[in-house]
């Protein structure tokens, strides 16, 4: 009953999206408000139908209805309710259903919010999101039906993917990532609408910025949460392996970040229209490409889904989306060409442009690296691997340059900077940065990457602190406010600038934490008889006892657990385990992570001998890892602060002053 309901909801959802797409196009061409309203209603209805289908799936999972193939393959009677619910997105078909739900949620939200505004743009936005809906529902009607039934229904299911039911983070990281991923359809939709209507003006830019940053925040959190999940679950002591699935999430993040920066120049100068539109198109195409790579089974990855019939559909979607949007962009280029002269070579604008080139450089490296095994294969070359040494070798210098620009860019004036102001701004931070590097060198740090990162981070931090202090002082003097009050008021009245500082501060923390944790971690492997100890960097670990028993919440799973006590900078007891799932040929590690502000103690069980009670463990001491998550959180917080609606400000959709009249351009023109 319920599966049939779900399937019917999907079929009607497809019809609703097809109708919406036609209604928007016809409504826009005839100027028929009734048709446009009907299109909006159809989008809301499609969201409702996706919700019904998702709920039908969740209930089927919770009630272990094995007549549904998806449930039989990804659930078992012993699966705890929490993991039953999150199984909605744990495998291919369910994740597409969840994806559809989120995409239409975004679509409905935007269509509702702008129901009375942007009358020229919104029909085409509606058409684009409706077409995305058509694609997603079609995938679920034809190649990836989540409600395919099997009869007779098996008595017991296969159970969820062992790797994915091992940690509650699976309930957090995929939704965040998917919310961000699907949301990046919105800037694309606005971009398409702008190209069709030839309206790439300031109002458009403001809307696109907002609807890029909101999903971008979720995507950022999703990427960081994914790194955290992989750290807590995979048991190799690291958090980022440049796996295709990680790269797939990173690629649209990189281009979206580039857009967020270039849009400020575009807004300020009224230029870069082709560039901005190109970036939002690229971002969306990269989200489909990433989905395709991880779901078609054509690249090797930690959690690629099995090879399936949906691959060609996604490939088709890539070709259609890329051809249509790039074609549209090329067609409109004559209308979009900037008439303004390029900005001055030393100015905030040019720093943002260099930032964009570097972000695109990162995008190129990551995309090329991910596709390289396929490219070599297509040309009949050897099977090759592309991994951490390649990506780090190329990306670390680019990241370092970006870090440098992050300090320099926001501190440069718009328009044109004089040598004198540059010197005044950057001399002291530069000295501090070099001094910090020298100090670290003197204290025994020897690797180039963390030294450079540290020096750059201190430089950037000093520039930012200087900016904030100067701003607060200037305001404090003129308005007679105490410096903290002045700083807060300045920040809440310049949300974008100060939110940017907070986000950059988060990036700084992450950069330092990544540089140090990736180069200064230590690890050792030890086989310990009961009562025996091993030590690493001030820690002593003792094998207390080995326990082999079924897991209380799921008796089909056998847990082999080493209970250990540790002493050193932190002390206490920990348990690190290997879990044998009936549907997994290899045991799944459950590392023990003891986090402190300075370092993590991380212990993975590799092997054990039940007869003697001896255990083989890999012990890591990973410095500063927790600061990566903290930095990621600050990054998201800063971005949220930057776009938080300000009651004092006129809604973003009001026509902004034309850039030529903007007072900030005066210094450039007055010279």
């Amino acid at each position: 009953m319920l599966p049939t309901l779900g399937h019917v909801a999907i079929v009607i959802g497809l019809a609703a999206c097809v109708f919406a797409a036609f209604a928007f196009v016809a409504g826009a061409r005839r100027g028929d408000a009734g048709l446009l309203a009907a299109g909006r209603q159809a989008i809301y209805a499609a969201f409702g139908l996706a919700l019904i289908a998702s709920l039908a799936m969740v209930v089927s999972l919770l009630t272990h209805d094995f007549s549904v193939e998806y449930v039989a393959r990804n659930n078992a009677t012993t699966t705890p309710p929490f993991y039953s619910i999150i199984s909605l997105w744990a495998a291919l078909e369910g994740s597409i259903l969840f994806w559809t739900l989120l995409a239409l949620g975004w679509a409905g939200l935007v269509m509702y919010r702008y129901r009375d505004r942007h009358p020229a743009l919104m029909p085409w936005v509606g058409m684009t999101v409706a077409l995305v809906g058509v694609f997603l529902f079609s995938v679920m009607v034809w190649p990836g039906n989540p409600f395919t039934q099997i009869s007779p229904a098996p008595a017991e299911g296969n159970g969820p993917n062992a790797l994915l039911q091992n940690h509650p983070f699976m309930g957090l990281h995929p939704p965040l990532l998917y919310i961000g991923y699907t949301g990046l359809m919105l800037p694309f939709a606005f971009g398409i609408a702008a190209l069709i209507t030839r309206r790439t003006d300031e109002a458009w830019l403001a809307v696109v910025r907002r609807w890029t940053i909101v999903p971008w925040i979720f995507l950022s959190c999703g990427i960081v949460a994914g790194a955290w999940w992989s750290y807590e679950v995979l048991g190799w002591g690291g958090y980022w392996a440049w796996d295709p699935v990680e790269n797939a999430a990173l690629l649209p993040w990189l281009t979206a970040t580039a857009f967020i920066h270039s849009s400020m120049v575009a807004e300020r100068r009224g230029t870069l229209k082709v560039w901005s539109t190109g970036l939002v198109i690229a971002t969306f195409v990269l989200t489909i490409l990433g989905t395709f790579l991880t779901r078609s089974g054509i690249v090797q990855s930690v959690h690629s889904f099995t090879q399936s019939a949906i691959g060609p559909w996604f490939l088709g979607a890539i070709v259609i989306a890329l051809t249509a949007s790039l074609g549209l962009l090329l067609w409109r280029i004559p209308d979009l060409r900037d008439r303004d002269a390029p900005p001055n070579a030393v100015s905030r604008e040019s720093a943002f442009l260099f930032n964009n080139v570097l972000f695109l450089g990162l995008t190129f490296v990551v995309l090329f690296g991910t596709l390289m095994p396929l490219i070599f294969q297509a040309f009949g070359g050897d099977r090759i691997s592309v991994g951490t040494p390649y990506y780090n070798g190329l990306n670390v210098p680019i990241f370092a340059a970006l870090l440098f620009l992050m300090g320099v860019g926001p501190a440069l004036p718009w328009g044109r900077a004089s040598w004198r102001s540059v010197r005044e701004r950057f001399a002291l931070p530069l000295i501090l940065g070099v001094a910090a590097t020298v100090l670290a060198l003197a204290l025994g740090m020897r690797q180039v990457a963390p030294l450079a990162t540290l020096g750059l981070a201190v430089f950037v931090g000093a520039v930012m602190a200087d900016e904030i202090v100067r701003g607060a002082r200037a305001r404090g003097r003129t308005r007679n406010e105490a410096p903290p009050t002045a700083a807060w008021r300045l920040a809440t009245r310049n949300r974008r600038r100060y939110g940017g500082y907070v986000a950059h501060f988060g990036v700084l923390i992450m950069a330092i934490a990544v540089a140090i944790s990736s180069t200064m971690a230590q690890s050792t492997t030890a086989t310990l008889a009961p009562g025996q100890s091993a030590s690493l960097r001030g820690y002593t670990l003792t094998n207390d006892r080995l326990v082999v028993e079924p897991l209380p919440e799921d008796p089909r799973v056998t847990e082999t657990r080493a209970e250990m006590s540790f002493a050193g900078p932190q002390s206490g007891t920990l348990a690190t385990a290997l879990r044998d799932y009936p549907n997994s040929s290899t045991a799944i590690a459950t590392p023990a992570v003891r986090t402190a502000l300075g370092e993590d103690l991380y212990v993975t069980l590799l092997a054990s001998d039940a007869k003697t009670g001896s255990v083989t463990v890999r012990i890591f001491v990973n410095p500063m890892v927790v600061w990566i998550w903290v930095g990621g959180f600050i990054l998201a917080l800063g971005a949220a602060f930057a776009i938080w609606p300000d009651p004092r400000r006129v809604p973003v959709t009001a026509p902004a002053p034309s850039p030529a009249a903007s007072p900030a351009r005066l210094p450039a023109e007055g010279s």
Binding site: I298, V299, Q307, L330, L374, R383
Partner: protein, 174 residues
Amino acid sequence: MRRLRWLILPLAVIPLSWVLLTGFSVNPNEVPSALIGKPMPTFTLRTLSGSTLSSADLAGRPVMVNFWASWCGPCVQEHAVLLDAQRRYGDRLAIVGVIYQDSTDAARSFLDHHGDGGYPDLLDEGSRLALDFGVTGPPETYFVDAMGIVRAKQWGPLDTAALESKLAKIGVSG
């Protein structure tokens, strides 16, 4: 001149879709062997039954080297094919099993349970031989001709069709 910008479209779309399309035809997990056309690695190892086997003992005969483990699921299905191969070709072909990262007890009980073909199973302490063959994970099978040259590799479990076509490459047929 302005129209040249339209070249971007095919230049972006066609190579990308071609590269992605070719991806469908290949299993990304399957790694072709670098040993094809090269001599088989040499070894002298103890067998499960306690004797010693050296690669020199196999000279002049076609050899099929099968890496397996008791913990490897597909190895169970494959085992029946191997037993059948030993029955059909045992007179012309030397089959050698190599136990991959497994305890001797577990390997023995696997053979007790699924049947022992009577061919030697090597104990590969420290996985030295597996590294020499370039094994990525069991089951994997290497086909060596009578001259001692590796001619083919099966990645994943053997079925009868794969067995026959690969044996043909080392001159064992019918």
